[in-house]
Structure formats: structure tokens, C-alpha cells
Symmetry: D2
Subunit: 339 residues, 4 copies
């Protein structure tokens, strides 16, 4: 908890993803701030950087990486641009968070891998954010306990409402199933050894020539299978589901419920044991909302009137408990300040 | 997103709740830091403040409120101590987040209410954190749409594994049901007009003389009922559930699923439409984990090897799609750096 | 399984409920047939009895009970008519299944009780059919195991889409909550000692002057509470839900899932262990459908073509298992007989 | 509803399945009775037939089929014995319900198919009982409405606690997946054109040499895929699940909930609209239980005391509604007859 200086981050790419990361770092992430925004579209970079005091703007990632006030790099530019930026960051020994894909193909990824090895220590994190999703984290933690036995199969569903106009049949694999590729490797701790892709008759709602849905079967070096339904024009919603079938039970996420297991003749999930487990996020949001409102000079949450009303009702409640019957609650008139 | 100075917060009370808020502000809350920790137990305050650069420690809330480096106050001391600190903060016109209860009884709460009115503007927020819980927020938002019609009844369940040793029968109302009192007022926008408490035969698992469970019925000035099962020695878990019964349907939270409605011949919930909705928290955690690790000089997330392996599998997948059949994946040997 | 003669049943009342029981006995119930239909509306009785060989029709219950070909009586006439028929049946020592209510008030019910005692053995069953609902039966069985400890509270929900035109506020109790009265007594094995009825502001969708919904709290001689939300114009569906809160856990039915428990830090339900448990009803329906179709000279289920196609696919599947890869299925042309 | 003569059924095979069908026909199925039981094990047949008046026993199916008192045949003998019995039944033009498989291989099935064609009308029903399961029936009915669009994929799970000792790897296909083969054909109305079987590393809980689990992909002439996880030693329960993915949504059964759909931004299921929908089975069980008990001279259900107690509580409830407050219930002492 020592007060270290904030991490000064250059964000490369200021499209939807990059702009969202800029907002996230400025508004949500403790211990970091954005000091540079880079985009080939200088106007876009300017708009994104505008509200941030002292944030520079440029069109050249390499110049940004060379700046004195940059400690780390977040890459959110298009995939083909990643390799050059990654290599430059490694050259300067800068820590990197690189949105997926690392690079668009195995050969270029291998060049980055070799450059990092040459550097001699790890500097690059890839943006496979499912590893940070609360449900995936609980699923992985459960697998680690060994309660369910060895994983045999993973059934994945990955559905999007509609695909963007530029989407190709190959991108269902390289852009979408890429997430299940990483999730499978991470959940099981296996490498993938073979891939089969099955092609049902495309949905009438898929754009012409797009092979959607597809059904992909991954085989792993641990002898497991991981099948993936990828359906990017399902129309009804965005769904990411995974069920791991193990020797003694299964565990499923993405189904509305946090984590549902089937084992020992029962299905179901766990119940929180404590308010800190159930309401941890609520406390975080409460205090953040209070800090944000206070810095704007406002009070937005429950106030003194609410505290007074609760006290009056509880007093009546305790009397009702002790005396039996129905007890009425008397409140003073609500002052104008609280209306 | 302009870079304002951090809010400097004095935390009054460094017990479980206070210490947790100190940790929260230092590690999670953007735009704030703790500059003073106050506790009647000076040693406890010292322990909590120790890791924080420049954080003062004292046993006197009023002295802490007078310090130059204090912009706002978070009160987490025992309820009976709240009134004095609240009045002192109002005198200095300092913003306050006060853990519930505002004060332990209606008379003292009224004095605070009058002091804030005398000041002429609102400065106090009370820690009814359920208003910030994602499930309650969605429930309130749904009620606001009017889809379900006017609320008629709320059925609440509030269960704890076991009560602490000092818990009394009256505290089931004043300490526990206090949350449902506020939640009912907030969800419905009604004031509570009468209270009835029913007392079933106590559970054998309740401590001697503790009337547990209790069943409380609140009546509101909008003609609604809100019933509360409060059961603080249920043994099996911590559960907070609420079902609002409206003229055209019901909505329920706290049941594992985020928000389940019953209306128009269907039960169920909504499906996210977008990855930002489904994975917003994962992105926040990912970037926070990266920033935290980077400031410690570490890489803890998926790295270059994971990016390379995903690229190689996706390449094989695209070939499998285009050529049909099963395609094997070839990887270089995993370098020592990534083992 | 000895072949006894069928029970010959007189059905008194041929309205919706009576006609449904006639259909049930003739089409579904093994070991019984209807030999008399009685109704004050002779035309209605005739229509209901018409398809049944040898079934007599009359407007006089007492004459029907005196017939030689009547072994037992099913009473489905309006409540006020029950007492006379019940007393007549007891006089003739005939077994009775009497739709609820036994009689409309306690005084008349007491007269029937006394007549049966005078007879010296039990002859009357009352139509509280929830005791035969699979979910209630499982709930009762679970309570009996003692796993959850002693029951402390029951939370009941009873919702109808809309009330019939003749419904009065009192009928929400005497006609609807009557079911929860019996269910509470049966589930807990307690008698009810006191009743409180709370009246929220009526729904705008309730007919004028109808107090709907109501919230009823029953107290039992075992110290338990049973609360009932009765809402007969909820608009969205017919729902009957019950949650029993015990010393160590809760169990809930009526929620889509068969039986959900909360205990020992987990929520969830049981998984069938066997196909006879999962598909018992399917076998019953299959054989009944086959018998019914066969008696009509038809084949309505899966036929020889389906058996052949399954055999051909399974043969291909076994080859695919043994040889690896994809195996195509060859079928003869589908003969006209099976199209 | 005309009183036809009961169908007189010869049951061929009196093992677990056959004995269960005998019990079912005698106790549950309206309009049929067993007049012959045939088994190569004469003692077993005798035990099964013993409680049935006038039921003959033999070891020769063909003799049984020739008997005057046999109208129809239920075949529950081992698969290899089916062909001869089926051909004999067709020769005598007798209706048949044949447990699956029709015959063990496509060639023999084809001979039966040709014999039935030669006869010129359909006489054989195959025991694919999933077509009669309430969940499958609802799933099929939903697909027929066209709401979800054209089916693209079916994901099936078929899990058994443990396999019997004689089970072989091929039987996972021919004995177990056979059900999904029929279910896929029936749900989609497609024929299956190709099969692929994937073999993950077997579970440590599978017997030596048994390839369990397996993952089977069926392709159909309608361009759909149907994948099947077959896992016959999963240890935790018997599960049969199916999810049909269509162009505009998905529908899933076997998951505890009756039928869950995902469409139009919502997941969930339907709510019954009426007590006949919710409690139809309870009424059937109630009346059957009453008839069975009455034929034994007993009363087993809720009796006069329960009717009286309900009347007394409802009377008190109506007073509580009308007068407000808590009303106590007065009951006479419970007579010995009802204790």
C-alpha cells in the first residue's frame, strides 16, 4: 500500500478498444494514468487524449515509446501493426499489455517470442481477458482442487448477436475461437495438437458466403477434447459458455448462474458465507461513487434523511418485537433539503 | 477525466470495517487516498496506517477533521460515536460517508438532520451499500421502467450463517432488518408507516434467549407491504434475496441468477448483447492486474508463448476450415523462459 | 396385480371439475369406471355420460348412491351440496372422494365428522390434490428425513392469471388459501392456531372492490409460521410455490426446478441416478399411446423405418469408432409405406 | 370413451425391462392387460406372471403369438431374438411394440422392413421412448412453431453413473447413442448421412479397455450437425440433455428446468396459465391412489378431519380479513378415529 508513483501508460491505438482502455485507466484503474495516446488517425487520438492533463498525442508509436514520461505500453492497434510495436517495446525493455492477437500469424508471433527470449526476461502480457473473468477464475480454481477429477472434455458456446461487415469465415476461427483456444489451454494446462472444423448449413441470417455457425473440435496433448460452437449471427445475444466434463463431475459457467456443478448426485452452486463475499463489489462501487461525487462537490447517495428514517423504523420495529402487534412509525415532515 | 488532485480522506474507526475501507481506498478507489486513520485504540490505528506514506494516526476524530490534509471523512466507528463526529464534520463543512446506522436512534438522527439543514446543503452520505449492488441496481432500474406495473409487495430473505456473540433479539431488527428498511424505501420510493414482528419458535441453533428467526412486516405510505425473514443463525450461508411483486409481474434477485422476472407467461432473465456488458469487469481486472504486476516488476498474465500458441492453433484451424478434415498443430519447443 | 373387478364410480356434479374426473376415470385410471353421472342439470349430465357404455344419468345423488352398480362416489358438485351427499354416502357405507371444500363451513364439516365417527371407520377422502403433486411429495419426503432440521417457516406464493367474475375478497381465503392451509398442515404435521390477514393496496388489475392481493400469516401449534401471498389477478401465470425454512436449510418447490435446497453452503437439486427415474413417465406414456392407437387400429409411434435407420447409423458409428475419421451412412430408399 | 374390450398383450421377455412392462400394463395402463408372458427362462416368466389371473406362461414366443387370447405383442427380449418374433407377429398381422433396437444390425432390420411392406400396412412400433418424454415433446413442439427458425445444431449429453460389466466400446454407440440417433432424426425430421467418433483419453473410472467417454458428431441430410457426449461412467448421475441451436435462438432440455429457451435477448421458460396444466398429474395420481386404496378397503388420503380443520381455519381467516388483526382458530379435540 506504499504510495508508489503512478504507472505512466502510452496507449497505442485509439479506436473503440483503445479509447475504452484510456477511459478505464483514467477512471477506474488505481495506480496508473495515461500519458500518451497514439493513433495513425491524429484527430481521433486528439479527441481521446483531450480531457487528460499532460497527455501527449502522436501518430508514431516508436516516438511515444521513447518519451521520458512513458513507463509501460498498452497496444490496442490493429493486429498487423503489433509486431513492430512489440519489438520496439522489447528493445526499450518496456512492459506491454497487448490486445489479442499477439500478432496475426504464428511466424510473426515466433519472432516476438525470440526477441523476448533474447531480452532474457518476460515483458509482454497478451489480452486474453477471460482469464480475469470472475466465472472463468472460479472454474479454473475448482478444476485445480481436483474434486472433479481429470478434465476429459470442454464444451464451449460462443455466440454473437451479429457479425461486423468485414467478418470472413476464417475470422470465426482466428478472431472468435481464438478466445476458446486460449481458454482451453489455460483451463486444462494442455497444448492443442489438432483441429477439426465442421460446417453445418449456414444460417439464413448470416451474410452471404459467411460460413456461420461452425463447430470446431480441438484435441490436446493431455488427451482432452474441447469443442466450440461459434455462431456470430445468432441474433439473440452475446453468450460465452463453457462446461468442463471431468472424471467425477462437470462444471459450467456462462449460464446466468455463476458456476454450476454436477457431481455426487447433485447439481447446483455454492452460497456465499459472508457479506464481504456477497457485497464486496457493492462496497467498492459505493466508495467510488462517493469519491467521484465528492470531487464534483455533490452528494448522490443515501443521505441524512434516509439514515433518520431507518432509525425511526427500526425503533418502531424493536417496540413491535418487544410488545407484539403492529406499531406505527412517526416521522417529522420531510425537510425541503431532502426532497 | 481531467487530472484533479486526489481526495484526501480521514477514516474514523479502524476495526474490521474501517480497515477494509482503508485498504479499499488505497488499492481500488481511483482519485482518493487515506491521509488520516483515527481510532480510540491507537495501536490498531497505527497498524492500519503503517503501510501508507504520509498517513497520520490519532485517537481524536475532531483533531483529524481539523487537519489541513483532510478533504473528506469516512466514519466507521461504532454507532454511538457517530453523532459527535457527524456534527463536527458538518461544522467544518466536510463531506462524509457514514457507515450505517447514521446514529443509533431517531432522536439523535434528527439532531444530525437539523444540523445539516442549518448548514444549508447536503454533506452526508449513509452507508446503505445495497443501493450500489449490481443486482439491486438492476431491480430498481426495472421497477422504474414501469413494465411490471406498480409494486404491491416485497418479499425479503436475510440470512446469516451465525450471529456474533453480542447479538440481541432487538439487533435482528436494528442491525439486520435495517438494510431491508432502507432497501424497501429506496426500491419503492415509499416511507414506512407501520411495523409488525412475528416470532416463530426459535431455532435450536440460535443462542439461548435469542429470538431467531423473526418475520417482520413493513407497511408503506404507498399501500405496499414488505415482509422480511431475518434468520441470523441459518447455518448454511449468507443470503440476501428480494422479490418485488407488481401488478403485472414479479422480479427477484439474490438467487444465484442476476435478476429473474416472471411476467407475460414467462420466467427468466436477460442475455447480454455485447462483450462489453459480459466482460466489463474482466477488462477492469485485467488492466488492474497488469498495472499492479508491472509496478512490482512482474508479468503475471498470459504471455508471449500464449500469444504464439493461439496464433499457431488458429492458423491450423483456418486450414481445417478451408480444407476439411483434421489438421495437426505444430509448435516449436517451449522455451525455458515460459515454463 | 390380481384381476379385481373395476371400481364402479358415481360422479356427482358434471361441471368442469366433474366432467374432467369422468374423462380421467374412463381414460387414465386403471381399475375404475364411471357407472353414474349426476347433475341438477340433466342435459349436462347426459352429455358427459353419453360416450360411456352402460352409464346411468340422474339428477338425484341419493338415488344414484342407492344403485346396485355403484361401489364408490366422487363428489364434484358445488360446496353447499356436499353435506347431504356425504351423509347419504356414509349411511350406505360408500367410499367417497370429495372435491374440496369438504363443506363450506366448520359447523357442517363437524356434522360430517361426527357421522363418520358414528359409522366407526373412515370412508371419506378430501380432494386436497397437492398432497399428490410430485414436487410437494418430494418436499414432504425431504422434510421427513430430518436433514434440514425442524421447520420454522413456510413461505407460500399462490398466483392466478385472473379471478372468475363471481370471486369475492373472502374467497381469496376460503377458496384459494384453503390449499395452503392444508399444505401447511400436511407438510409440517401441525394444526393452525391463528390467522392474520394483511391487505396491501389492491392491484389496478383486480376487479372493483376485490381486495387482491392479500398476505396471510398462519401460526401453528408447533410454533411455526406459514405466510401466503395470494394474488388472483397477477396477469402473468398460474404459480404455486412453497419454501420451507428449517433450522439447517431451506427447500423450495414451484420454481421451474423440481426441488431446490439451500444447505451446507450449497444450493441446488438432485440428479436422477437411473433411467427409470428420469424416464418413468415416458415409458408410461409410450405404452399407453401404443395401447390407445392399437385399439383404434393405428400405428402412431416410431416404426420399422426408424428402427432400420437407427441400426444403419449405429453400424456406421461403430465403424467410425473403430477406424477413425468420418463414415457415411447408406440407407435404402424410403418405402412409400413410411412416408 | 366407449367401453371397448381390453387389449390382451403377450409380453416376450421377462427380464428387468419385460417385468417392468408387465407391471406397467397391469397397474397403470388403461385398456390393456397381460395374457401371456414368454421367456426362455420359464421360472422367471412364471414369477412375473404369477399375480395375474388367467395369464399363461411359455418359453416359445411363436406359440404365444398363436394363442386366441393375444391381441398384441410387446417384445422385451434381447435384441438378437427380435427378428424372428417380429416376422412371426407380422405373419399373424399382430400389432407390436418392440423395445429398441428393432434388430441389432441394418441387414436384419431391412428384412423386417420388407416383411412389413409385403404385409402392406404398418404394425410395428419401436421403443424409442424419448419421443414420449414430456421435455422432448415440448422441445419438438417448440421447433415446430418455427419461432426459433431452422435448426442448425443439436448438442446432446448422455451420461450414466456406471456401465454394466458386459458393456463394450461399440455399445456406447449402438446401445446408448442409438437414442440420440433417433432423437436427432425425430426432432429435426432429417436422416443422418455421416458419423464421426472422437475418442478423448478414457476416464480412470472406466473399466479397462473401455473407450469412455466418446464424442460423436452426426451430420444430417438437412445440413445440420448433432454432437453427442456419451459418458457411461460419469459417476455422478444419469443425465440426458439436448440443446437445439436454431437460426434465431436455442432451446434446451434435461437441465432440471423443463425447457429453457434463449431468444430475443432473454433466457427462460414458460409459466403455466392454469391449474390443470400445473396439477394435471396430481389429479391423476390422486384419483388413482383413491381407487387403489378403495379397492383394498382403505382410506389413505386426506380425510374428514383435514376437511374440517381447513374449514375452521378459513372461517377464522375470513374474519381476520374482515375485522383486521389476528384471529385464533378453535378446533374440537381430534377424535381417535383420525389420529
Amino acid at each position: 500500500m506504499t504510495q508508489r508513483a503512478d504507472l505512466r501508460v502510452a496507449v497505442i491505438g485509439s479506436g473503440r478498444m483503445g479509447a475504452d482502455h484510456v477511459r478505464r485507466i483514467q477512471q477506474t484503474i488505481k495506480g496508473a494514468r495515461v500519458t500518451a495516446v497514439v493513433d495513425v488517425d491524429a484527430e481521433r487520438a486528439k479527441r481521446v487524449a483531450a480531457p487528460i492533463d499532460g497527455c501527449t498525442v502522436s501518430t508514431d508509436p516508436l516516438a511515444a515509446l521513447a518519451a521520458d514520461d512513458v513507463d509501460a505500453v498498452l497496444i490496442a492497434s490493429p493486429g498487423p501493426a503489433h509486431e513492430a510495436t512489440l519489438l520496439a517495446a522489447l528493445e526499450r525493455d518496456l512492459p506491454v499489455l497487448c490486445e489479442k492477437p499477439l500478432t496475426p500469424d504464428a511466424a510473426s508471433a515466433l519472432r516476438v517470442l525470440e526477441a523476448e527470449q533474447a531480452l532474457g526476461h518476460r515483458r509482454i502480457q497478451v489480452g486474453f481477458m477471460r482469464r480475469y473473468d470472475a466465472e472463468y477464475v472460479r472454474l479454473k480454481a475448482l478444476l485445480r482442487t481436483g474434486q472433479l477429477g481429470r478434465p476429459l472434455m470442454v464444451h464451449n458456446r460462443h455466440r454473437n448477436v451479429a457479425s461486423p461487415p468485414f467478418f470472413t469465415s476464417a475470422m470465426l476461427i482466428s478472431d472468435s475461437v481464438a478466445h476458446e483456444v486460449d481458454a482451453t489451454r489455460w483451463l486444462l494446462g494442455h497444448e492443442i495438437t489438432a483441429v477439426t472444423v465442421l460446417r453445418p448449413a449456414p444460417s439464413a441470417n448470416a451474410p452471404d458466403h459467411l460460413l456461420d455457425p461452425q463447430f470446431v473440435v480441438l484435441e490436446t496433448d493431455g488427451g482432452a477434447l474441447s469443442d466450440v460452437e461459434i455462431f456470430v449471427n445468432c441474433g439473440f445475444g452475446y453468450q460465452v459458455q463453457a462446461e468442463v466434463v471431468c472424471e467425477r463431475g462437470t462444471a459450467r459457467i456462462g449460464d446466468g448462474h455463476a458456476l454450476v456443478t454436477h457431481m455426487a448426485a447433485r447439481w447446483g452452486g455454492t452460497i456465499a458465507q459472508d457479506y464481504t463475499e456477497r457485497f464486496a463489489d457493492a462496497y467498492d462501487r459505493e466508495v467510488q461513487a462517493w469519491v467521484d461525487a465528492t470531487r464534483r462537490g455533490e452528494v448522490t447517495g443515501p443521505g441524512t434523511w434516509d439514515g433518520y428514517a431507518a432509525a425511526a423504523v427500526c425503533e418502531a420495529g424493536v417496540r413491535a418485537l418487544e410488545e407484539g402487534g403492529r406499531v406505527t412509525v412517526e416521522l417529522v415532515d420531510k425537510p425541503a433539503l431532502y426532497r
